[in-house]
Symmetry: C2
Subunit: 460 residues, 2 copies
């Protein structure tokens, strides 16, 4: 009830957003050294929100807060923290606080924490874990990065395929350490190969004598332990899985992945795609100037090369430009329209490749569509710009030149915007990362060449 | 076991992707009119994959397939289909096939299907439902579009807060129609206000006499029925919810949302953001040329205005350009670098706004960082371009001019790339949609003006 009321007091936009007032109150308590006040302010906050708060304040405030908060610091906050400041926060924690915080975590969260840390910090965490947990974590880290093995939790509730509802209920009731969260019982054959999933809800609703085998879910996906995490997330999203068993090379059950972890991966993959499309490497809002500069640099460098290439094209036409300066005024329009149309096509293609909707079966149909769209939009904008040129420079010839160049460049943009990402994907290069540079190079070069080339032919 | 083996036979890239061979086999069966063959090919396929297949083939093939497949057509395929071809497919289905297909669906899936349809098709589906289901669907449609009310399922397993584990197990065992999928029992007070969630796993593991109240989850979020679906998805992702109760204006339990539906929304919101950032309205790979052209048009039109504005700036400097044609060759470089740096900043800002990581608490720190990053990268590329100019045009003055313009434009890009999305968000405009046009206008205008203006001052 209380949570419901809090929600209604906030405006719609700010739901779930940390309010500036709340952050301010926390910072005041930190500055005043008021520990009890701080603890009572943080007590109702979810670990994910505390992590967001730590990300949004300055690093000096962050240290002061952690120092004052002391042993109250929860392991889950570490799991929720952005990687960029996680190392900072871990080194700010006193060893006994870190040890306590880590011991509370589930095995998959510990792995998630460990994999991004440097050796000394990894060691600090390993020494905080008891031997069994440390072994589990080490084994998980032996799987490739970004694989199902890293995502899965090893705590699985499995049952022999011949058991009845009563058998599994008795087993669970007598079991000392059921996982914190589980939604299915995995049925296994004698070789520990998963053969089906039974939801707890169906077990609840069925008579004790019913064989579990009769209650298995229709949709059942088994995840190989070395499968890429992006494909795992795709499978959860595509098939609406809630949890799925993970198997080793011999098909034996080694763990289970639940949808909440798949959702986190889906979110990360999207973030990666959005940022890569804009030429921004992985990174975060809390990164410092130097690391951010380094990460933005490569794409800008590629763009500089592209831009210089385009300039070399322009340089071929210096003569005609100095005779007709209007060409210099107009030429960026053709290149810019091509660049935008190309970006539209490539974004649609990159997204469709990511969702496995653009395949060998429809690639030619999509290319044809993009080319036609380019032609139609090209024709419309050609007409507009032709008229604008006629009015502005009183030259029908110039109008015809820019109109023709516009159609050419928008058709090329539609073609290149689809073919380039598809070709990059085939070549094993992430199309989100590299398509932009190639496509804008094409549209810049073609745009300037078509416009200035036609002008040179017609005007001279 | 069989699925595990299928997976290992495919190369890593192609996991879960419809293979061209499979699609080909289906199309051959359709062409040959081999119904049994078609059914046996489609039988092992998940509804989501069949939907993908229907999206990837031509519309003629689609009609032929649906005709031949006949009564085998499953309701879930309709739910999984992209909106763009859903109407087509529904009108291709014979009425009795449609009725049968729709009757199998859960209430939230029916709503999902209904909301995007035109009136006549909605009526066709309503008349296929029995009265109770139709009433439930009509009520769901009375909630605002894209609200929690549309996402939720109305089948909830709720229990009075004073019940014990034994009470709820007996209740579930005697209940005739438990929902297909449920993960929690929602505890409610006598006014039907939700007071806690208990996972089925905990119920399974606890003794019969234990009060349910002792087993409630620590994290418990209540969703107001009119909350925006994007915020709902955010809450599930942020707080790792598996299911959450939905309440009406008086705080009474009216339904439940499960994480699988939240994941679908999260995916859609991401898709929207990616496409909007590229100036592509909602749409799909199966849209026709005309509708795609229409959707791409507005952004290109905005870009044309932007480009013409930039041309007007250039036109102010026709004199100096006709004296120094090198300016025309070099000016697109400054504008293009600014555009790219601005896009980097704005993408980071748009994404951080979407994840509620960019707030009043850190906005100035982020702006300062972006400006500094622009200054540092600007200085580096200024140096590079200064040297390039010196070598290419043997002019130190030109080198100085382009270097200064580069620094100015990259600093402006960092500033505008952050301030513009933040301001749009404050003004209630989706920053993903509109930031690009504003930021590139700024970087184009500033880029050309700084470069040509400095050149006019120094060279003349």
């Amino acid at each position: 009830m209380s949570e419901y009321e809090t929600d209604t007091f906030e405006s719609e936009d700010e739901v779930y957003e940390l309010s500036r007032r709340d952050v301010g109150a926390v910072l005041e308590a930190v500055e005043a050294g008021a520990r009890d006040e701080l603890i009572s302010l943080m007590e109702p906050m979810h670990a994910a929100d505390i992590a967001d708060l730590l990300e949004q304040i300055s690093s000096a405030d962050r240290y002061a807060l952690i120092e004052l908060y002391g042993v109250e610091f929860d392991g889950e906050i570490l799991s929720e923290l952005d990687e960029s400041i996680r190392e900072d926060v871990i080194s700010a924690l006193r060893p006994e606080v870190l040890a306590e915080a880590v011991r509370e975590l589930e095995s998959d969260d510990v792995v998630d924490l460990l994999e991004d840390l440097e050796q000394p910090q990894q060691d600090a965490i390993f020494s905080a874990l008891d031997d069994a947990d440390a072994m589990v974590a080490r084994q998980a880290l032996s799987y490739p990065e970004e694989s199902a093995g890293r995502m899965m939790q090893r705590e699985v509730v499995a049952a022999p395929e011949h058991w009845s509802v009563g058998d599994v209920i008795d087993f669970m009731r007598s079991s000392e350490d059921l996982p914190e969260q589980f939604y299915h019982v995995v049925l296994v054959d004698p070789r520990m190969h998963p053969v089906g999933n039974v939801t707890l809800g169906r077990i609840m609703g069925a008579p004790r004598k019913q064989p579990l085998r009769d209650l298995t879910e229709e949709v059942f996906q088994i995840i190989p332990v070395d499968q890429d995490e992006g494909d795992v997330a795709y499978a959860f999203n595509q098939y609406h899985l809630i949890s799925a068993p993970v198997v080793d090379d011999e098909g034996r059950l080694v763990g289970v992945i639940t949808i909440d972890d798949a959702m986190v991966v889906l979110d990360e993959e999207h973030e990666e795609d959005i940022l890569r499309l804009a030429g921004v490497g992985e990174g975060s809002l809390t990164d410092r100037v130097i690391s951010t500069t380094k990460r933005r640099f490569p794409w800008l460098a590629v763009n500089l090369v592209t831009a210089v290439l385009a300039s070399l094209v322009i340089a071929q036409f210096e003569g005609v430009i100095s005779d007709f300066v209007a060409l210099a005024v107009l030429m960026p329009i053709v290149a810019s329209m091509g660049g935008n149309a190309g970006t539209q096509s490539l974004t649609v293609a990159v997204r469709a490749i990511a969702t496995k909707d653009l395949t060998g079966s429809n690639v030619w149909r999509v290319i044809r569509r993009e080319v036609l769209v380019g032609a139609v939009n090209g024709a419309i904008f050609a007409l507009v710009m032709g008229v604008v040129c006629l009015l502005w420079f009183s030259s029908a010839t110039l109008g015809l030149v820019i109109a023709s160049a516009m159609v050419i460049n928008l058709v090329v943009a539609g073609f290149a915007g689809t073919v380039i990402p598809v070709a990059l994907e085939k070549a094993g290069v992430d199309p989100a990362l590299a398509s932009g540079a190639f496509v804008t190079t094409v549209t810049d070069v073609v745009g300037f060449f078509a416009f200035l080339g036609l002008a040179a032919l017609v005007l001279v």
